[in-house]
Amino acid sequence: MRQWQRRRLVGYAFVGPVFLFLCAVVVFPLSHAFWISLHRTRGLATRFSGTDNYHRALTDEAFWHALGVSVQFTGACVALHMLIGLCLALLLNEIRFAKTALRVAFLTPWMVAPAVGATIWLWLLEPQFGVVNYLLGAIGVIDTPLAWLGTPKLAFMSVVAVDVWRGVPFVMLLILAGLQTIPRDQYEAASIDGAGPWQRFRYITLPNLRYLLVVASTLDIINTIRHYDIIGVMTAGGPAGATEVLPVLLYNTAFRGNRFGEAAAIGVLLLLIVLAFAIFHIRLTRPEHGSAP
């Protein structure tokens, strides 16, 4: 055997296991999901049903409603993540004391399981004995206790708030890392030219961060639009479907409604949405140029 052939074989031995494993735990289940989306099960009989499930999903009002809620939820969450994350990062960037400790403290909501974080918030927002109602009442913001998860509007705002609480730290850390790459002499030069804080932000910080902000928000959109746990735990899509985002509709269709074919079809449609952003994201970061990860 020639040297290069032997070398290639050794290479296969190193990457082979992961390849097979990924096929088993990702590629195969994913293809099976497609298969399920093209079949209909009644009792013990499963038969090919073509695009019936897709047709059913796309003509069902619930799908379009969930898509609308998903767009609103993702839009609100990502906008707030980026805005608050940017503000916090600018704030923390100037602080030298207890730098890492502060960062880790801010990161805590992101470290805790979303399902557990959502459970904590269920207790905070409890209508009768929850501390949020008590505190807001004590400082005079509200007169009567609110049922935070009881009315459509409030419930939507509540799940957005919890997702913001959980999602901001991560974005903040990304932006902080970005801020540190901005050369300090740019700021010094601007100061000498008499630029104020706002001008420095507008003409140095923002242009330098632009790429990072676009990358981070795409990534954040992908992560938020497919996220299930927080809404699943807090409202399961209620009240009256006000928080029923696509992943929640999918879960409810499959595991409450027992309509797996239709759920898989909804999942494939959700996948297409995610894929569109993923392609944009990958084109943007261009791993083929050796920048990833």
């Binding site: 050794v10 289940p29 880790v104 909501p109 805790v112 992943p247 990958i282 791993p287």
Partner: protein, 276 residues
């Protein structure tokens, strides 16, 4: 000079207020978990109580199956982490050393896999696992968790292995080391910070995962912590002090782990996630 001191003070005030908002839910979780049941429904609620005790923790660990849930979480999470990081180390070495050009399409493939909606994958997993009778087994959970943990760890490790110069491999080869020797004795020790970071992260995402275990465990004794905690909300009369004690038990391990290894955490996020 004087003005910047005021600005500094204002900055600190803002930081502390935000920190208070961010951390308050955790304080309230801890506070509630330490209260006796009789004090939960007091109005106004108590922020500090002379009656604080560990009773709720004892109840949760002895009268409820949370010790078992902790064990389940630990077995599944450690199993997933060891499996993923081991396989990932081999693959990262293989790709960066033997197929450097193939590494790029593979990384793109991994990025796509990382972005799959788990709610979609959960359906085939549920059907496949129930048809082969693997519901309520550690094996099913470890396999399911690998579907998100493995792409993630391979992707991160390829980045770390790329940063180890190829000259080192050549030097080892000239010294007569085989590929396996080079891998185990030269490259792995050099990649140790990367391995630690990736293992930590894999541990974190596996420990915090919820939906997979929710769907793949129907037997209450096989739940993991996140599912056990969230399920208590559905009880007829929620014992909030016990529920918060359970939440502390679920959250404490990752918090402790990461407060000890804060540097790794911050480095891994900023090096890994920015670009992808």
């Amino acid at each position: 000079m004087r003005r910047s001191r005021y600005v500094d003070a204002a900055r600190w005030v803002l930081v502390l207020v935000s920190l208070l908002l961010v951390m308050f839910p955790f304080y309230w979780m801890l506070n509630t978990s330490l209260k006796p049941a009789s004090e939960i429904f007091l109005s106004p609620p108590t922020f500090i109580s002379p009656n604080w005790s560990l009773d709720a923790y004892v109840t949760v660990l002895t009268q409820r199956p949370f010790a078992r849930y902790f064990l389940n979480s630990l077995v599944v999470t450690l199993g997933t982490t060891v499996l993923s990081v081991t396989l990932a180390a081999f693959a990262a070495y293989g790709f960066t050393r033997f197929f450097p050009r193939g590494a790029t399409p593979f990384v793109v493939f991994l990025l796509f896999t990382k972005m799959l909606p788990e709610t979609l994958l959960i359906i085939p997993y549920f059907q496949l696992m129930s048809s082969v009778g693997l519901l309520n087994s550690y094996l099913a959970l470890i396999l399911a968790y690998s579907s998100f943990a493995l792409p993630f760890s391979v992707w991160m490790l390829i980045g770390f292995f790329r940063s180890i110069p190829r000259d080192i491999d050549e030097a080892a080869k000239i010294d007569g080391a085989s590929y396996l020797q080079t891998f185990f004795l030269v490259i792995l020790p050099l990649a140790r910070p990367g391995l630690v970071a990736v293992a930590l992260f894999t541990f974190l995402i596996a420990w915090n995962s919820y939906l997979w275990a929710l769907v793949l465990t129907t037997d209450a004794s096989m739940h993991v912590l996140s599912v056990g905690v969230a399920n208590m909300v559905g009880e007829y009369r929620v014992q909030w002090n016990e529920l918060m004690a359970a939440a502390v038990i679920a959250a404490a391990p990752v918090m402790l782990l990461f407060s000890f290894l804060e540097k790794h955490l911050v480095n891994a996020i900023t090096s890994g996630a920015v670009k992808g």
